[in-house]
Symmetry: C2
């Protein structure tokens, strides 16, 4: 019950802070971002000390090396955090933008004003840099933030929170604009995702399991990203060089990211021509290939070491050097396969054909759809959003990379001169 009370208090304070944040000028917010950066810079030694404590406890508890790596702060990583803050400060402020003001026959003028969502709850893993990133995006978009990071990063997050507080105070911003949950009690997450009077939206960042659990239990709307089963489709009219470059880049530029290709689809008429050389290059990079019946025969015929794909492969996010390959009979088959198996994250077609490019763009129901470009481009920086709080595979509110604008909404504004309704 104590945790519940604690979370309710954070919620109430966040709601109050959100009202004052809606009033801040762009300059106020940027000043706070720069002040936070200065505070973090000045406190670097303390941050590294606090982080060392987390790392030590993590090692004692036998945390995996990959988790320890994410948890670790270094002078270079602190510098990257500062750079991130300055970048967010330099982004245009989405709040207050007025659009579509039009006169109506009644004489009133109606349009939309972009406004903060209010209070955003962010639940994430033990990555201290996310604390700074999430705080900066929420602050710039005029939202109050309640940040719940992984318990392994508690000392680091507390040290960062102190710097954020210092920065807010220095810029005269409400201290509850950014609150870090300072308990490792798991009940805190349950409370946060159910406080629908105080929290307007939850953004979970973490593994699929965590996000599914949060989605199931939440009463507050969730902007979520489950997984990235991304496809590249090599059309009948694909340019061979582009097909090779994009396939390789989409699979091997980085294996662990959600916008990495997991399945390569190839039109039957060009499979024999395109697949062997692509497969060869992928194999040379150490990628395991799992092929459908047709491509299996084709690649084995070219004496390449591939294995047979199973039904499960089509819906698997490998996040590693594995690729499933399927030959399809037509564009329709490719689109059907994608709309059936993809996680609606990012899909690309390689083609020189105008009509099929247009159909692919229109009919593929994913948050990012591309022509002759690598799926790896699907992220906030590449799209020009400046930074992203996550990539949404939801269909309402925001799809794809969620930047500052995704943390806002639009209300209607009406200007009259004593107008009444007849």
């Amino acid at each position: 019950m104590q945790v519940q009370d604690y979370m309710q208090t954070l919620g109430r304070q966040a709601r109050q802070a959100a009202r004052t944040l809606a009033r801040l000028t762009t300059e106020d917010k940027n000043r706070a971002l720069h002040a936070i950066a200065q505070a973090l810079e000045a406190a670097s030694p303390q941050l590294l000390q606090a982080n060392a404590k987390d790392l030590e406890q993590g090692r004692a508890r036998g945390l995996e090396e990959a988790l320890l790596d994410r948890l670790a702060l270094t002078p270079a990583r602190i510098e990257a955090m500062l750079e991130g803050l300055r970048q967010v400060a330099s982004l245009p402020d989405p709040v207050g933008e007025i659009t579509e003001m039009r006169y109506r026959p009644s004489g009133i003028q109606v349009g939309k004003m972009r406004v903060p969502l209010g209070v955003i709850g962010i639940i994430y893993e033990s990555r201290p840099n996310v604390t700074v990133e999430a705080a900066s995006l929420c602050l710039k978009s005029g939202n109050a933030a309640i940040l719940r990071g992984g318990s392994e990063a508690l000392h680091s997050n507390r040290a960062i929170a102190a710097c954020i507080q210092q920065g807010l105070a220095q810029a005269g911003v409400n201290a509850h604009a950014v609150q870090v949950v300072e308990t490792t009690d798991r009940e805190a997450v349950g409370a946060l995702i159910r406080m629908d009077t105080y929290v307007d939206v939850i953004v979970p960042r973490g593994g699929k399991g965590l996000i599914e659990r949060i989605t199931q239990e939440a009463r507050v709307p969730v902007i979520k990203h489950l997984d990235g089963i991304c496809h590249v489709y090599l059309d009948r009219d694909a340019d061979a060089q582009k097909a090779l470059a994009i396939s390789l880049n989409a699979k091997t530029q980085r294996y662990g990211t959600c916008n990495t290709m997991e399945t390569l689809l190839v039109h039957q008429q060009v499979a024999a021509n395109l697949l062997p050389s692509i497969a060869q290059d992928l194999l040379a990079k150490g990628v395991e290939l799992r092929a459908c019946e047709v491509s299996l025969a084709l690649l084995q015929g070219a004496h390449l070491p591939v294995i047979a794909a199973t039904e499960e492969d089509w819906s698997t996010e490998y996040l590693g050097p594995i690729l499933s390959i399927k030959v399809v009979d037509s564009l329709d088959d490719a689109i059907d396969h994608i709309n059936t198996y993809s996680s609606q994250h990012t899909e690309a077609i390689v083609t020189e054909n105008y009509t099929r490019a247009r159909r692919f763009l229109t009919e593929v129901d994913s948050s990012s759809v591309m022509v002759n470009a690598s799926t790896r481009f699907a992220d906030g920086f590449e799209y020009g959003l400046g930074a992203e709080i996550g990539i949404s595979t939801d269909k309402i509110h925001a799809r794809g990379p969620v930047g500052l604008e995704g943390l806002t909404s639009q209300k209607y504004i009406v200007l009259g001169d004593g107008h009444i309704r007849q």
Copy 2:
């Protein structure tokens, strides 16, 4: 379990239909809307017969007169349905709109394309006209619809569904684009709001109790409208005539609507000047006045029959000829009162002061915020949306009246020429 299976079948069919709907041209969709109108017109006698059966059963079951009135079809109401269909056909198609295409430093071109949400579940009361209205808005926005109307309208809805089917078939549109749930089993609603693989969003239309229940139990995102506790604030610099006209219109033009004013706020410096005449006119219209301490003294001093407001009045949606009145010390107090007690639906300020108008627009956190106009303007037709499926008091996705655009979302599209990420 049978109901579960039935609903799963509807869901699966809707999902399949949604994919074909995404491909339809604007003309296809308009042809279907006109064909449905023709089918309804031709079947008017059958519609009236089916409706008579519903009305008879409703009377036998002792339905309230107001509910019977909503349930009733007349030739004029059928004509209004046809007119509604034609209007939706004449609205611009939001789907496919491409915006913000910009080149990025990497050379790719990134922008957004407006797309249907997919499958929309609509849960509503026993109002047969909603069946046609919801079907037409979903169809025009390229979404598949699963419609669950009140059980008292089952015969009417079945007859309407038959006409919709006829119209879809005639225009060559997938028969599952619009499906009417043909069971009165309450379990059907439970199934519908939990089928998150098949349904993308739920729009409930009905009383607050129904909507709260749905929101609590839903796994699918809900676009909801709970209540309308709307305020008009008469500022220190309010024009007396505008103040009177807007106050009267906002309260008395219609009592039962969600955009009707429920609380009148008045700046202390103008209360003595403005309130008595406004109160007099409201009383003359039969409105009961519930006043705060200050306004009570003021109005009783003017020998007007008012009663004392209680704390509960500030958060009550009367939906009838009752108004609560409160005198506030400042614009800040007015905004605080609104942001505390309003349901974030619609609020208006009456003022000639530029700075306070601007502050009110910016700081009031409601889906519609107005200057010198009656709250009664807050609806889809008045805003130029053409028609609305509801008014959202949510903060994510869509706020305020939800028209065709509110039933769509935006995906990212990326155009390249063989671009790969460095």
